[in-house]
Symmetry: C2
Subunit: 241 residues, 2 copies
Amino acid sequence: MKQAKVRLYVEHPLGQGQSVPLERDQAHYLFGVMRMGVGDPVLLFNGVDGEWRCAVAEAGKRGGVLVCEEQTKPLQMPPDLWLMFAPIKKARTDFIVEKAAEMGAAKIMPVQTAFTNSERIRQDRLQAHAVEAAEQCGGTFVPEVRDLQKLERVLAEWPEDRQLMFCDEAEVGSAKRLGAAEGGKWAILIGPEGGFSEAERAKLHAHPQAHVVALGPRILRADTAAVAAMTLWQQALGDWA
Amino acid sequence: MKQAKVRLYVEHPLGQGQSVPLERDQAHYLFGVMRMGVGDPVLLFNGVDGEWRCAVAEAGKRGGVLVCEEQTKPLQMPPDLWLMFAPIKKARTDFIVEKAAEMGAAKIMPVQTAFTNSERIRQDRLQAHAVEAAEQCGGTFVPEVRDLQKLERVLAEWPEDRQLMFCDEAEVGSAKRLGAAEGGKWAILIGPEGGFSEAERAKLHAHPQAHVVALGPRILRADTAAVAAMTLWQQALGDWA
């Protein structure tokens, strides 16, 4: 059996014998760029039905059809982990979203803090990055990227049953660790490049569900901090444990 | 006392009362871009003498002089950790070097594996990225970036007293963890995008100092894997412990 070289996300139900129509740019990629033809295998996932080995049934310049042959992976949900971060320069924001999808966040929440420069984000572009990262990393789930929200408001509406791992840059070098926390619903909050304001820090330190954590003795950029924090969490409480 | 807004790496001795001449582009940055003048504070480090608060003594378009006033940090050496990785696309290779400096690697070693595309790297450019990362992250040490070496040769000359954390992509989803290893001299090896060859994997699995480690259930890109692996190591055996 030929091995599938391409793995694509589609917004269409997948199941035994299911036909899946292709969008124009996916058809262009498969048949134009990758030079595939009828019978060639492609892996599809939709974030719900797991991963399916499909075969090309029709190949055209503007479209095509794949047919699902065999489920190759069940849906693997990541833990119920939100990644909250303050958007930074474009390339690094893209990286954070990509990393969050690879590392297994369930939801990605850009938040506006006192020292966040960005007033808005391109949610659609960031969502596309999350899809691409899921295609690359072999995941069967795509985390939702939310629109930009004010941190203040997110904290005001904080759900009672969700813990918060607060990576406080001002704690650099301290011994604050995740410790003997329990799993379940969590969020990780990474600070903006300029740190949090004193008012924000006070509110976060006083937050009943917050766990203040130091990420080693050096100051990390936000994208590095995101990966490091998710590694610690996944290893202690998530699906790396 | 005015707070220093700029932190620079210099290749010059630092010590009480020491004068430090500036290079042309550093002078341009301080006096042209940042509009600093005589008396303004700047933080300097050279990877050896810790971090010093200096004051501008002479400011010119093509040069200038700073004078060291007070040591603000002693030299903080990272643990004796090498980061070995197979160079990938330019931007991601730059990121790996930056991340390695932030996360506290002592030496950064690009290695050529069977499936590495790059035949050469720009060592000087990568070293400059390591310097910039050290300037940003508040570190007082700059890891050396070595020139590209063949993995085969590095393994053939492997020092007997150094352990090797081998992050094997083929182990994704397995329970292989760093476990109860001892600290001391270590290296982390991250695979290339295409994975290791069967011959390389066999050699690495048979290596007496190798510890095979899985980085969770999803396939990580090389730059993500580098940060995740350094996080696990620093937390278990390094200066995050």
